[in-house]
Each structure stands twice: as C-alpha cells, then as structure tokens.
Symmetry: D3
Subunit: 245 residues, 6 copies
Amino acid sequence: MRFDGRNIEELRPVHIETNYIKHPEGSVLISVGDTKVICTASVDDRVPPFMRGEGKGWITAEYSMLPRATEQRTMRESTKGKVTGRTMEIQRLIGRALRAVVDLEALGEKTIWIDCDVIQADGGTRTASITGAFVAMALALHKLQEAGKITSFPVKSYLAATSVGIIEEFGAVLDLNYHEDSRALVDMNVIMTGAEEFVELQGTGEEATFTRAQLNELLDLAAAGINQLFESQKEALGPIAEKIK
Amino acid sequence: MRFDGRNIEELRPVHIETNYIKHPEGSVLISVGDTKVICTASVDDRVPPFMRGEGKGWITAEYSMLPRATEQRTMRESTKGKVTGRTMEIQRLIGRALRAVVDLEALGEKTIWIDCDVIQADGGTRTASITGAFVAMALALHKLQEAGKITSFPVKSYLAATSVGIIEEFGAVLDLNYHEDSRALVDMNVIMTGAEEFVELQGTGEEATFTRAQLNELLDLAAAGINQLFESQKEALGPIAEKIK
Amino acid sequence: MRFDGRNIEELRPVHIETNYIKHPEGSVLISVGDTKVICTASVDDRVPPFMRGEGKGWITAEYSMLPRATEQRTMRESTKGKVTGRTMEIQRLIGRALRAVVDLEALGEKTIWIDCDVIQADGGTRTASITGAFVAMALALHKLQEAGKITSFPVKSYLAATSVGIIEEFGAVLDLNYHEDSRALVDMNVIMTGAEEFVELQGTGEEATFTRAQLNELLDLAAAGINQLFESQKEALGPIAEKIK
Amino acid sequence: MRFDGRNIEELRPVHIETNYIKHPEGSVLISVGDTKVICTASVDDRVPPFMRGEGKGWITAEYSMLPRATEQRTMRESTKGKVTGRTMEIQRLIGRALRAVVDLEALGEKTIWIDCDVIQADGGTRTASITGAFVAMALALHKLQEAGKITSFPVKSYLAATSVGIIEEFGAVLDLNYHEDSRALVDMNVIMTGAEEFVELQGTGEEATFTRAQLNELLDLAAAGINQLFESQKEALGPIAEKIK
Amino acid sequence: MRFDGRNIEELRPVHIETNYIKHPEGSVLISVGDTKVICTASVDDRVPPFMRGEGKGWITAEYSMLPRATEQRTMRESTKGKVTGRTMEIQRLIGRALRAVVDLEALGEKTIWIDCDVIQADGGTRTASITGAFVAMALALHKLQEAGKITSFPVKSYLAATSVGIIEEFGAVLDLNYHEDSRALVDMNVIMTGAEEFVELQGTGEEATFTRAQLNELLDLAAAGINQLFESQKEALGPIAEKIK
Amino acid sequence: MRFDGRNIEELRPVHIETNYIKHPEGSVLISVGDTKVICTASVDDRVPPFMRGEGKGWITAEYSMLPRATEQRTMRESTKGKVTGRTMEIQRLIGRALRAVVDLEALGEKTIWIDCDVIQADGGTRTASITGAFVAMALALHKLQEAGKITSFPVKSYLAATSVGIIEEFGAVLDLNYHEDSRALVDMNVIMTGAEEFVELQGTGEEATFTRAQLNELLDLAAAGINQLFESQKEALGPIAEKIK
C-alpha cells in the first residue's frame, strides 16, 4: 500500500473532459489524480518555413504551468524572459510523440499546434499532457475531416504516456504523484502506441542507477497502465474512437 | 436589444467558483459570460526590496492568457521572450486597484501575488480579472487571519470592475463582449469600491471622441453593473463576506 | 497658493520651440515648467504589415527619458534590455491619442513615427509629450502637403493634454509638478480635442479613491487648462494653425 | 557491413588526449571517429545558492558546438541571444549523468563545471561529451585530492555513454555516425556505470516505434560498446584509473 | 576648400553650454557644427562590486542617440532589446579616456556616471561626446569638492578628442562632418591630454590602407585641432578651468 | 630580458596548422605562444540584405572564447543571453581588417563567414585571430577558385596583426602575453598589409598616456613583428602563398 493508499500497479483516477474551451478546434481538461492540464489543438493552414512545399504537415507543442499550479509559486517564464530547459524538453517530447502516430502526408501542409497548460500539478504533468493532447488532437482532426479539409483520418494509432519509478519503500510503482516523484530513485517516462510499441522511453537515475532486471519490471508496469489510459481516451472520444486502430 | 439579446444595462451571467485550485491560499474561477479567468492569490512572507523595513505589505499582479483563449491562437509571451505592453498595462492596473482597498500596514511585511490567467476570452478579461482577484485575495487574507498571521482583516472595502462603451447601433452599453468591444467607438473600464467611489477610470476613444454628457451616461451604467458584481462576490465569499464593509 | 506659488487652476509656463532638430520632418522642444521634451515626427512611406493594402496611414509613438532627466539617475532601458511597463503605457497612450484627431485615410499608406524624449523631468511628462507631439506632427504633415505627398491636411482637430489631481492641502489642482504628483491622492490625465471632447481619460487613486463630485471638479479644471494649451500650440504653429479646426 | 565499413557491433576509433588545455583543472580532447569534443572540468569553491550550507557539492555542465563543427554553419547561440532546447537537454543530461557516479558529500561544498565544446561533429556528440567529461572530471578531482582539498576520491564508478539505433538496411547498430543518425528509425542514448547499471536511457522513435524485442537487442549492443569505452577511459587516466571501481 | 567651405585644418564652430540640465551634478550641451550632444555627469556614492574596498573611484559612460538625431530614423536600442556593438565600443572608449586623466584614488569610492545623448548628429559624435563629457565631469567634481566630499580636485589634465581622416579630393582633413565621414578612405579618432600626450588613437582604413607618412600628417592635424578644443573647454569652465593643468 | 626570457623585439613561437577542421572551406589552428585559436572560413552564397544586387561580396567575423580558455572560467555569452562589448569590438575589427585586403567585387555576391574560437588564451587573442583568419580565408578562396566559382583570386595583399605595448620594467615590447598585457601602461594593436601599410591602429593608455616618440617606437616594433608573421602565413599556405602579393 502506497502513501495514498494505491497498490503499486494502480493508476490514479483519470478523467478527460472534452471541448473544455470553446475557441480551439480540439480541447480537453485531463485530470490524473490532482494533476490537471488543459490541452488544446489548434489548426494552422501553414507549415514552418523549413517544410514548405513538401506536401507534409507538422505537429508542434508548447507546455506551461500556471504560476500557482505548484505548491510554491513559480515565476512565469514570460517574466523571466526565457523558457527553461525543463519546459523545452517537455514540449519537444510532446510534439515528437504525437508526430509518431500521425500520417503527416495525409495531414497535408497544415500545422497542429498543441498547447498543454497545467493548471494544477501533482506529478506526471508531462505524461498527462501527452495523454490529453492525443485526445484534443484527435478531436481537431475529426473536425478537419468533417469540414472536408482532409480526406482520410490521419491518426495511425492510439498514444498515451505514464510514469513509473523506483521508490525505496515500495520498489517499482506505477504513475507517481508529486510526493513519490520527489523521493524516487529512478524515474521513467514511457510513451506507447495502441500496438503496444514504444514511441519514447526516458529513464533517469538521479544520483542512483538501475539494473536490466529493474528496467524490465518498470516496463511491465508501464505497459499495463498505458492500456488503461487507452480506455479513458476511447471513452472520451466516443464515436470518434473507432476511427483509430 | 443587443446582438446577444441583452438590454443595454444588462451584465452577462456571472459565476464565481471558489477554491478552484488546491495549492494557492486563495483561488477562484470567475466566468462573466464566456470570459473565464483563473485568479489565484499567493502569500509571500517578504516584500520587494524597495519596501523592506517599512512594516507595510504589498500586492502585485500578473496577467496572462492561454494561447488559445482567443479565437485565433496567440503566441505565448514566454516564447516571444517578452511581455507585451498590453499585458503590462493590465497587470499594473490589477495590482494598483487591489492596493486601493487593502490596509497595507495591517497586512504587514507580506506580498500578495495575484495571478490572473484567462483560459477563455470573450471581452472584458481585465475587469473580470479584477472582480475575481478581489475574491481570491479575500480568501487568502481570511486564511492568513485564521492562521493568526494577521490580527485584523485588512480589506477596507469591496472592489469590482466592469467595462462600458459606446456602440454605433445602441449607444452606451454595459459589459461589452468581444464582438461589441471590437466595434466600440468608446471603451471605458471602471473600477469602484463598495462605497461607490472610483478607484480607477480609463476611457478611450480610439479614432473617436466622447462628450461630457456621454461620459456621465457611461458612468451611470457602470455604477449599476458594479453593484450587481458586489452581490456575486458576496455570494461567493459566504460568511467571509461580512468581514468587508 | 500652491508650494510653487501657483493658483490651483494655473498652468506652469508653456513654451514650444519649433524645428528644434534639423533632420526630422517635424520637431519641437516643449517646456511645461521645468519639464522639457524633444518631440519629433518622422514620416515613413510604409505602414506596419498588418495594415498593408488598406489605403490607410498609421501613427505610432515612442517615449523615453534621458537617464538624468530625473533627480536620481535612472538606468537606461537599452541597458536593461527591455522597455518598462510604464514606458509602454505612455507610448501606447500617445499614439492612440494622436490617431484620434487624424484622418488616417487622408494620410494614405504612411506611418508617422512620433518620438518623445524627455530631457528634463518635473512631472507631467506624458501630457507635455502629447501636447508637443501634436505640434511636431502638424509640422511634418504640413511639410508632406507642401511636397504634394498628401492632398488634404489630415488633422481633424486640435489635441492637447494635461494632468489634474487631488492634493491633501489644496484639493483639486491643475498641472501637477513632480513634487505635487508624488503627494497626490488622485492623479488624472485628460486628453481633449479642440471641440472640447474627450479622447482619453485616465484617473487613478493609488491607495485612495474619488467621488463623482470630485471627478467633475477635476474635469472642469482640466478643460480650462487644455484650452490654454491650445493657444500655445496655435502660437507655435503660426500660419499652419489655421489649417486645423 | 555498414556504409563506413564497420560491423553493426563496432565502435568508431576512440582517442582521448588528456590535459589538452592548460588552464582547467582537468581537460581532454576526445575523438570518436570524426566527432571531436574538448571537455574541461573547472573547480569552483562555491555551490549554487539553493545548495548552500548542506555540505554537499554539485556538478553542472554546459555544451556547445563551434559554428562550423557541422557541415552547414550553425548560428551561434550567443548571437541568437538564447540557448536552444536541444542544447539545454544535452547539458542537463551530462550534468545528471556525472552526478550519478560522484559522492557529492565527499566532494564537499564545491561545484565542478563541465564544459563540452564540440569542435567537429559527426554524430554522437552528446555521448562522446559524457565519455570525455568523465575523464576530465576524474583528472580535476585527482588534482583536488593531491592538493589536499578533498580527502577521499569521490568517484564511485566509471561512466560512459554511446548511441545505438535501428537503420532500415542493417537493423540495430552501435555508435551511429551523422549519416546513420539522420536515417535512423529509432535512436537511443545509453549511459551506464562500470557496474553495468543504467544511469540514463533515452530511446526515441521519430515517426517510428520499436518493440520490446528491439529494445533488448539495442541494449545488448550498447552494453558491449560501453565496456570498450571504459577501456579507453582507463588507458587515458593511467595510474588514476585504479582509484575508480 | 572643403564642401562646407572650411580649410583642411579647420574645426567646425564649437559651443559648450554648461548646466544645461538641472538635476545632474554636471551637464553641458556641446555643439560641434551641427552635431549636438547632451553630456551629464552623475555622482554615485558606490563603486561597482569588483572594486569595493579598494578605496578607488570609477568612471563609466553610456552613449545613445535619439532616434531622429540622424537623417534616417534609427530604431531605439531599448526597442531592439540590446545595445549595438557600435554603441558599446563608443561607451567603453569614453569611460576609458576620462579615467586616464582622473586620479581615481583621490576620487575615493565613488562612481561618476557619464551620459552622452546625441540629440542631433552630423559626424564626430563620439569625439564631441568626449570633449563635452570632460567639461560635465569637471563641473560635477568641482561641486563634489565644494561640498567637501573630496579634498583635492582629482582631474590631472585636460582631455579632448577630434577626428581626422583622408578624403579622396582633399587628402588629410580635420574634424569630419557626416558627409565627409561617409566618403573617407581613412578615419581616425584621436584623444589627447593637455600635456599633448595620446590617451587613445584609433585609425581605420575601411577597404583602404594608410602609410606611416599619412599617419604623421593626420596626427599633426589632430594635435592642432585638439589644442583649440582645450580653449573652448577652458572658456566654458570659467574659473574652474584654473584647477586643471 | 622579459619575464618569459624573450627580447623586447621577439615574437612568441608561431605555428599555423591548416585544414584543422574537416567541414569548413578553410580552417586553421593558430598558436602564438600559449594562445590557440581555431579559425574557420565558411562560404555562403548570399550577402546580407543591405548589399543585395550590388554584385559585391562581404566578409564578416565572429569571435568567442571557450569558457575555460582563460585562467578563471568565464561565463558563456550564450548563457548570459548577450554578446559583450569586448566581443563585439573584436569581431567588428576582424571583419573590417579582412575586408581591407579583399577585392569584394571580384568575390561576387558571396559572404565569407570567419569564426575565431579561442580554445586557450594567453594574451593577443584578437591579433592571433586576425593572423590565423587570413590564412583560413585564403584557403577557402582558393577552394572557391578551384571550383570555378570565382575567376580571379580576390586577395589583394597579405594581412597580419600583432600587439605592442609599454611595460614599466622594459619600455616598449612586442607581442605581449597575458601577464605582460595585464601590467601594460599602453597597449596597441597594429594590423598591416604585405605592402607595410596600416589597416588599423588602436592604441590605448588605460590610466596612462603616451607621447609621439613612444608611438613611433611602438610602430617600429610592430612592423618588424608583422613581417615575421607574414613568413609563417606563407609557410602555412604553401603553393597558394604565391597567389598573393
């Protein structure tokens, strides 16, 4: 039994509210336990300069936290005048992951802007962002298809992410909250497709290391958790869910 | 009858949900029609360097919009690397207004950080921010008092804000939504106290002007609207409402 | 009698020296008491990207102070690497005010750049900037018309600005100098046209408030002061003065 | 046989020249094939503010490329005025990895600054940086110990890094050069200790995915390559090599 | 006879108006032909951190041009968000030159901030700035001595600067205006003391070169011109002039 | 005999290794004593916007130091977010000097980017950069000519640079190392062509001055030293050396 009463292989409660914001083509409010993220997907009819004329689309992401999403107030990056390394890492990760499951040729010369804004943080904000952004993106692409702007639905597979880690008292655990994350010896983010293949794997032992056996244990936990997240995504997407393998 | 069916002296529906975010000392989600703002109040036990040793507190505000709060996606200020002039004007305005109704000596050497993050915009984001921030601040100060960190409740009066303006088809109207705001000949933001005194008055005729008579008409509308906003604030504050004159 | 011997409804001495700098199309050195501002108007044959092809002109302003215009040396904004919120507010205000009295269609696709550089500050720098910039702009537009680049004179009305405020010892006073400004309970900037209509009204009670009756008293003072400023502008403009209503 | 004639499990030639620069406490020029990186370790007798008084040391890293380390000239980050997301990711990774094998308590309140400057790039610059930085750091810590500034040698284990990836024509391969890297379907960076444990694992399928079986194949290749890198490090360190397990 | 009717060894008319701005400890408006610079000297009772506790003073300078000091409007450096290389070169030059003629020990732990703001530019703005700044600094130091804050007058010698150059039609000429400067094959700035020694010499042949004989010719012209500038400085300083050798 | 055993008119050992980096069109590693600089020349088929359509080429330079090129670690300019004044001065100087000996019309609409990265610093980094950059540029232009992209070799003359200075113990000396430079009363950088003409002369007396006689002595030393540098350049260039006068 973990500090919050969960089993080691138990996800926190997941809820995905679709169309949370009225202007974007797709939007959700995802909560994973006390972590809450507004994810929006915006369609731009242009691609970045380096891609023009190639007939392919692009997906890019930005990530931010409200100053008081965290226990202590965090200074705004706009006030600092620059984006931190952590934010850059996360937004590059989100964009890369989503691109792995979208047929960019089928999208055509359009950019999907994903914005993940954490309004309340309790660990796992980047994995919740990816899981929520996938749904917001699917909603936006569905709207594009309804409007006749794309002919086929370009999402090749489901995509969700979770964290796993090693904690002194419990060993390998699934879906760390902030309290667990700050004590973890090893922290790993896993992003997988509906075909149970990896899109990204990032495991870090800050002032610690992990063996091949521990790695395998963590990957088993992650795969089971991600399969549950796919169920939440399907439920949120309703009839659109069937368009994706 | 205005485009959205309101009378000229009619506010949009106002809703204030308190304790919307778990970490801050005070927080609300305020909606005024389709404009939605998360307002949080954070307590810092220090004051800015220029005020140290004076025994007085300080209140400062930051304001931002999610990129897709607006109809077209707006570039993040953190990505631009700088805060726009519009944002600076608004955050200076919010801080100044709140300081006018708080006894900073009674607060003591503490800073209240107000964060207003617009998650959905439909006109009047700065006035909704002020109206909501007042409630978040009152909640935080109440918590400070409960914890024995301040002896008296330092809020001297209610404070709320609305916009009024002149539109070609309707003349003077109360509480402009985005569609009205973009067509307004004259746009005025009015901030008042519970004693029906002005804290701030900003009237602008972009490529237009207004007479003394029109000014008086606008001020009458604003005063009536603000009195209704006080009712929403009182309802949201519940028993705390009685601590304020 | 105020600290400097003026009556409450008395402006400081105003002097406007035209063609103070040789390169700009229009320039003045305006002094209002000890406040001295160099205002220049530069003509650019392009408009900002967002306005291209609309056949309309644009007027934009920048404002700055020499580091030692003030009693204590102020750090340069170029050294800080960013423009402060106060500066942004002022330059947006100057541009907006001038645009209200110019027929931008008659100007055609040109930008008038207004630069207001305060070389000595003693309160009221933003209102002196507006009053001086109006004259510099009129000189530049006259030169444009003489050169046959515009067919009609696009200035629709006179424009001038002053400050009024409430001081503990004297109540409502006109044209505050720095000493008065730093003690004022209420501070209001008023910008009016030659037709005695408002272009902009900004009243602020920092840690104070004001009633409707006080507002009216302040507006009466301001209107009288602005009428005197129009006389100084006409004198400075000489024969060009008659081109403006 | 790969494009450059190597077997799939073959590293490029590795050479580590110690004491390459005269001023730093430790320095090397590491070449891994045509990738060349100057790594220096500098000792600072202070720690960052957030760590003061804890009696622990800190290790931090910076990474950069000369503009013409690459086939096309890259703009300098100093000229751009900001560090890119890629650079930030890499420097955070290098620092985190080195901290995992150093006993920061034994180091005491000192900061080791690692600088990795790529003078010629041909793929694998981040892994070469880590492998070289480990040696530069060991040299600097040895010098610290010789000077009596630390009592025990604080390096707990060897540390080296390599990349592995999946290429259409060859499947899983070890130590990708730039040509291979730009064609790879999956790219993975692996950092391991002398005890054959993972410190960090980052696998990415850009527009591709990978199975659990492929992951295992990649990890086997990486472990074998890293064992060879440890030999190069030991040779470079000479007698100091024996101080590390 | 040059384009403006001067002989090759003739300075433009020089005028130095002292106490031009009321707040600074020392200020002048210097005009050299149509080049006009406001130079102020401000006294700060601290020195920069790297000099604290050494008992010596410091002199530092900043330089700027109003946007429309030039024929074409120049973008403000505050708007660009950074100071250009040209500005940095000039402000470093001004500070270095003034420090060469001041006894920094006699000044004690104080900083003299020199601000040179060009309000109208017609060539030679950096040399006019140095010549004017010397006078502003002397005025400020005199005021410091009068107030008993320094015991001896720390200025060791006069200091002035001029430009010389080589022009196709006229050969070597003294004190180039903008028109001459833009056509010059060689451009040299010379700063000398009252003892006719060099403080700084910067000669540049942009897309051209110069011989030792030409150098000597240029230096003769410069020395003669600078001697005349000393006369203008003495006249401006009045009785204070005699305190300097 | 100087501190390092040299005569006053003796250069430090100079070595120029060509083709040091594989990607650039031209590159060298130049060492002048313990000062080591990687100089590369990159060819870009465009010119800056302000030169387009004129049929002329451009040469521009960037300069940087590795953080630990110096005795104390220096913060990176990319981390600071801005380039220092010293760096800007040096890179402007390098570009200007090289342009003085290249026929830009013969080069055609191309830009030569010079990058000088100091990997180890011991005084004279800017003059070593110029001397090395000249060779890197000649190599790149030779390659351009071999490839038939330019018809004539556009280098008009040799170009090299050295420093001279006045030291209390020795008087005028040639080629100051860091220890000498930090004690020098006068410091002068001299850049000359193969025709023994000056391209740039920058002499500075920081808190000191120099006479005309001292200037002549310094220039004699510099000319002799630069003639020796031409020999090192010729040796490095091999057969290409004969293409330059």
